[in-house]
């Protein structure tokens, strides 16, 4: 069981590395764009669309990891109350499971939208990158997030000891 946790931890490294690398590129790109424009009057024309793609990659690479680690912003005002009532774990599991399940529909709909963009042959302005790649990536990662959350919810409900160690 321990090894499953470790494999999962390893697995989260990959999207986080992708997000980190993209963020670094975004930073250098924005810097280069300003310098090129202000000193050589030669802005990087594709900067805007590259920025947009970079943002999607950063957010949706990190999202499944954030969700899987339960790193979302929550209001923990009533925690002591729930703990005293002994419902903390059940509640946490149910809520996480519900979030995951409900996210499946938007994810599936995003796949449809990606397919539509593909059939229209939408391309980005300067670099002519097919738009559906990005939409498809978003849809795929949303689905991964949904599955991660649903699984996490189930694990909290039925196998709480599994999460020990896999948490961070």
């Amino acid at each position: 069981m321990k090894s499953i946790a470790r494999v999962l931890n390893r697995l989260t490294e990959l999207p986080m590395l992708l997000a980190a690398a993209t963020l670094f590129v975004l930073m250098v790109l924005t810097f280069a764009d300003v310098i090129m424009r202000s000193t050589f009057s030669a802005p990087i024309e594709a900067a805007t669309e590259l920025t947009r793609i970079a943002m999607a990659v950063i957010v949706f690479s990190a999202l499944p990891v954030v969700s899987g680690r339960a790193d979302h912003i929550v209001v923990d005002l009533l925690d002591p109350l729930f703990r005293r009532a002994g419902v903390e774990r059940i509640l946490d599991g149910l809520i996480t499971l519900a979030c995951g399940v409900l996210l499946v529909w938007p994810a599936m709909r995003s796949f449809d939208l990606a397919a539509r963009a593909r059939s229209y042959g939408d391309l980005t302005e300067y670099l002519s990158i097919p738009v559906f790649y990005i939409t498809w990536f978003i849809a795929f990662m949303t689905l991964v997030t949904a599955i991660t959350m649903a699984l996490r919810g189930l694990v909290i409900l039925f196998k709480p000891d599994l999460l020990r160690g896999a948490n961070d």
């Binding site: 980190a20 930073m27 920025t51 793609i53 943002m55 912003i73 929550v74 005002l77 809520i95 519900a98």
Partner: protein, 437 residues
């Protein structure tokens, strides 16, 4: 209109049941839209918002400013800022507490988060103040209060979120935050003086620094000060002269700031490859958190608008013939009350979609309202029973009671209320600088 009130109650309930705020707002918005239109339309709207929000060019300002703050922090700037402030203010009575306020203000100028400011500064200054015999009350309160400056002095994550939610210019919001931020520092300095006046033993004076010591302390922070002036100056359009012609959009300013901070940290040799990676990952995590709440808030506000809540409330106000300042007072009181219970970002996300249309309908300026909301949020960070900064401080420092901090924070809290009143009564204090852009 009644649907949106039910929706609002549902969000509150789910949030209190510990559902992530992004999902609470998103799910209620999705269900609400299904009720208003149909399931397919609602899901389509949600997916469109998910896809479009994550590719919004203007939103790239979020990760870049967070990155800038984290890189500067890695350069060890918090200690140096404190040393400079101490060199100039330390010999006064309550001097270390005043230096803490000034250093927090300086740190806020590169970091957009109040919690991060409080957490970082407490590690640096708490031991120093204890060494000099400062009372725990005064030392912890000055950090908790000083930390709140993080979200007002630009760059500020909360102002970015407000700007994005309401389509108000982020550049103008940042510039508008400068005067109220400086005012905040000055008022907190007064609060320190009030504290030591009431109890002189709480903050004994430190030693006087020689001029060369002062200059030496300054040498540590000049690069970061320069970076701040580059970022804010470029944003304000103050650097548009021969031969550099630097004017930035908020995203560009953030990009320059992040790159500059990265280079500074690199030059100082305080940044290893693995640390860079940690900073990048941390930023990506925060970005994903913030984007999820933004998407959730947008879904919810789509529903609230569709169901006509803002119009309904506006009609009510018009038909009841309430004066704008009365409505404003009620809104501010609601904020202070909510602030006792909610954390700043959640509070902003829940309230702005509802209050913003009303306030604008009454003829108030969107930039001014943004600053006022942030100032009220600052106050909520140190208001009992759940002032978040106080709890952060408690968890970082450890051997101090929440009650002690709240007791010490009272003069600061009162000065905050005075500042809020001044900003409400004299809007030009907020609006003068951005109107020059």
């Amino acid at each position: 209109m009644i649907e949106s009130l039910i929706g609002f109650a549902a969000v509150l309930l789910l949030v209190l049941l510990r559902m992530p705020i992004a999902f609470a707002m998103g799910i209620v918005g999705m269900v609400g839209m299904t009720y208003e239109t149909n399931f397919v339309a609602a899901i389509s709207l949600v997916s469109r918002l998910i896809i479009d929000t994550s590719q919004d060019y203007g939103l790239s300002v979020v990760p870049l400013f967070i990155l800038m703050g984290l890189f500067v922090n890695k350069g060890g700037i918090s200690r140096e800022l404190y040393q400079v402030s101490n060199a100039f203010l330390g010999h006064f009575r309550g001097g270390l507490a005043m230096a803490t306020i000034a250093a927090c203000g300086g740190f806020a100028a590169i970091c957009g988060s109040s919690l991060a400011t409080a957490a970082t500064m407490s590690k640096v200054v708490m031991p120093e103040m204890r060494k000099l015999g400062y009372s725990d009350e005064l030392s912890s309160a000055s950090i908790a209060a000083g930390g709140t400056l993080g979200i007002l002095i630009p760059p500020s994550v909360i102002l970015v979120i407000y700007g994005l939610l309401t389509e108000t210019s982020i550049g103008k919001l940042f510039i508008a935050g400068i005067v109220p931020g400086i005012l905040g520092i000055l008022f907190y300095l007064v609060a320190v003086q009030i504290s030591v006046y009431r109890n002189p033993a709480a903050g004994p004076a430190g030693r006087r620094f020689s001029l060369s010591e002062k200059l030496q302390a300054l040498s540590g922070v000049w690069s970061v000060l320069l970076l701040f002036f580059l970022v804010i100056g470029g944003l304000y359009g103050a650097l548009d002269f021969w031969p550099i012609h630097l004017t930035f959009s908020p995203t560009e300013a953030a990009g320059m700031g992040a790159m500059g901070a990265f280079l500074i940290a690199l030059f100082r040799g305080t940044l290893s490859v693995s640390e860079t990676l940690t900073v990048l990952k941390e930023t990506a995590t925060t970005t994903a958190q913030l984007f999820s709440v933004l998407i959730g808030a947008w879904i919810f506000s789509n529903f609230v608008n569709y169901a006509g809540l803002p119009e309904g409330l506006r009609d009510m106000i018009v038909s009841a013939d309430l004066s704008p300042w009365l409505v404003m007072t009620v809104i501010l009181l609601i904020y202070v009350a909510l602030g006792c219970v909610f954390e700043s970002l959640s509070m902003l996300l829940l309230t702005v979609p509802i209050f913003f249309p009303i306030v604008i309908g009454l003829g108030y300026d969107p930039v001014w309202f943004g600053i006022i909301v942030v100032v009220v949020t600052e106050i909520s960070l140190i208001t009992p029973p759940v002032g978040l900064n106080v709890f952060i401080l408690k968890s970082v420092v450890g051997d101090i009671s929440v009650g002690t901090i709240f007791k010490g924070v009272t003069p600061f809290w009162m000065m905050d209320i005075v500042r809020l009143l001044i900003l409400v009564l004299f809007p030009w204090l907020v609006l003068f600088l951005p109107s020059q852009m």
